[in-house]
Amino acid sequence: MSSDLTDLYQHVILDHNRRPRNRGRIPTANRVAHGDNPTCGDQCSVFLRLEGDRIADISFDGSGCAISQASASLMTTQVKGKTAAEARALYDHFHDIVTTGREPEEISDVAAFAGVHAFPARIKCATLGWHAFLNALKDDPAPATTENTPD
């Protein structure tokens, strides 16, 4: 098994893929957005309960590769309880990690996604759930698609 590959499929990613957190639809959601990647058919819906500026609850549902599913799962655990601005900052941080491969200084599960950087075709998989989330936050009714978002 190549080291690039084990970097890509780290334990954290496999774990979130096997046992996704916050999966399914939360009945109290007041925001919903859907994301899809037309080139590979991956799909992700994000359900959000926004109270004021705070993400009181969040879940996701969808189908796709281990990277996209694990990323969406980890994303929900990260942004739950955060304000919208904090969550956006987390996305910027995540985006930086997957596009540059730079591991964050603090110890964090998102560091597992640094390996994605060596597989440019998979960056869209890692950011799919995040794009759906950002659309839900904006209350943008248009589905997020990886085709008109930079990454």
């Binding site: 098994m1 690039d4 496999l14 590769c65 281990a66």
Partner: protein
């Protein structure tokens, strides 16, 4: 006669490593690799003969025109068309089908008419018909596909071929399932019902004998790049009488007999459908691809592909948890499969690390995937240079992948 013995040496690209392993190229349904003979024909044309065709009176132009028209005759012979004029050069299968849908469909379809397709069509034999249906008021109808075995529900065909059906467009070989449809029988049943037939031969043209007169189809579409030719060139075969009665679908130079400010008259087929400077360089290379494949023998190519398809089905069926799609019996040179617990894209990424090129996803066949309850499959597709040993390499890689994900 080309030789099968050192066939891999004919394809320079195969002699390389990918990610530190010998390249195992199993994405031939997407595009095949090109033999030296085709690459050489292309460079020879640009080194010796290049000039615009049909217009010039100088030596090179005449040579280029002879090369282009020679390629047309060669392609006509390759599919056993009655005359070179029955071959329209296009960019490939997609453009060929769009041509038929726009030109024949636009002139012949009206509200209430039905376009009959099958549930296993590639998007390129579905979307052009959706477009013309919208324009003309015709509607679409589909021959069902039966379950994972992926065979067309033939008994339903007679019920579906009602008088409203004007055209039946279907794929000869499914790029997702590996099903080989009985094209001649389907065309015969359509013909009895007075229905025009369009055959998508993208996946059969490079893999088996394709004879438009034996098949008795009205139109047949294919791409050069899936039959050892280069990208950017393909053809539409059309029955002469039908082509001659069809209006142009694009206007420009090369397709007009006479132009006035307000009106023009068209040349006959095939020029009528080839507006603008045609892709003569790639057409010449396509002629060389026809020579190469005929040199190997098309029946022999079919036997080789069928044997690999069968062997792959057998070998992969031993992998725990695999779901194999497509017919158990006779199948084309590809296998398509999925795992409930490992996504196709993860499989493809892992195989790539072992030097194996696979395709994962919906294969431009989203409605069928949905019907089968799948979001995608992984596909291994073979061509003349693939070997049984490569199937073993693939199986070993897949076993490691599923083990990794199952922990």
């Amino acid at each position: 006669m080309n030789s099968w013995k050192n066939i891999r040496d004919d394809f320079p690209i195969l002699n390389q490593e990918a990610n530190g392993h010998p390249l195992v190229y199993l994405d031939n349904a997407a595009t095949t690799q090109k033999p030296r003979a085709v690459i050489d024909a292309l460079s020879r044309f640009y080194e010796r003969d290049n000039a615009n065709v049909h217009r010039g009176l100088h030596t090179l132009s005449m040579r280029a025109t002879a090369g282009y028209e020679g390629a047309r005759a060669r392609v006509a012979a390759f599919v056993n068309a009655a005359a070179p004029e029955e071959i329209v050069f296009t960019r490939g299968t997609t453009e060929s089908i769009n041509l038929v849908a726009a030109s024949w469909g636009g002139a012949n379809l009206k509200p209430g008419d039905v376009i009959l397709l099958t549930e296993m069509e590639h998007h390129s034999n579905l979307v052009p018909w959706q477009l013309v249906a919208k324009r003309t008021g015709a509607t679409l109808r589909f021959v069902p596909v039966n379950g994972d075995e992926g065979l067309l529900d033939l008994p339903s065909l007679d019920r579906l071929l009602t008088p409203e059906v004007k055209v039946f467009a279907f794929t000869h070989v499914s790029n997702t399932l590996g099903t080989i449809n009985p094209a001649a029988a389907l065309c015969a049943r359509a013909r009895n019902a007075g229905v025009v037939t369009v055959v998508d031969a993208a996946q059969s043209i490079g893999h088996m004998p394709v004879d438009v007169r034996a098949m008795d189809c009205d139109f047949l579409a294919f791409s050069g790049h899936k039959m050892a030719g280069v990208t950017g060139i393909g053809a539409l075969y059309g029955r002469r009488a039908l082509l001659d009665a069809m209006p142009p679908w694009q206007g420009g130079g090369g397709m007009i007999a006479h132009v006035d400010f307000l009106e023009s008259r068209w040349k006959p087929a095939p020029e009528r459908f080839e507006a603008g400077t045609p892709n003569f360089g790639d057409a010449v290379a396509l002629g060389a691809a026809c020579d190469y494949l005929d040199g190997l023998g098309r029946a022999e190519i079919q036997r080789h592909g069928a044997a690999l398809g069968r062997r792959a089905y057998e070998v992969l069926s031993g992998i725990p948890g695999i779901r194999l799609l497509g017919p158990r019996g006779e199948r084309a040179a590809l296998v398509s499969f999925s795992f409930a617990d490992v996504h196709a894209h993860d499989v493809v990424t892992f195989a790539d690390q072992d030097g194996i090129a696979l395709r994962g996803g919906h294969h431009c066949n989203q409605p069928l995937m949905k019907k089968l309850g799948l979001t995608g499959t992984t596909r291994a597709s073979f061509f003349v240079y693939n070997t049984e040993k490569e199937i073993e390499v693939l199986a070993a890689s897949l076993r490691r992948t599923v083990k990794f994900f199952r922990g």
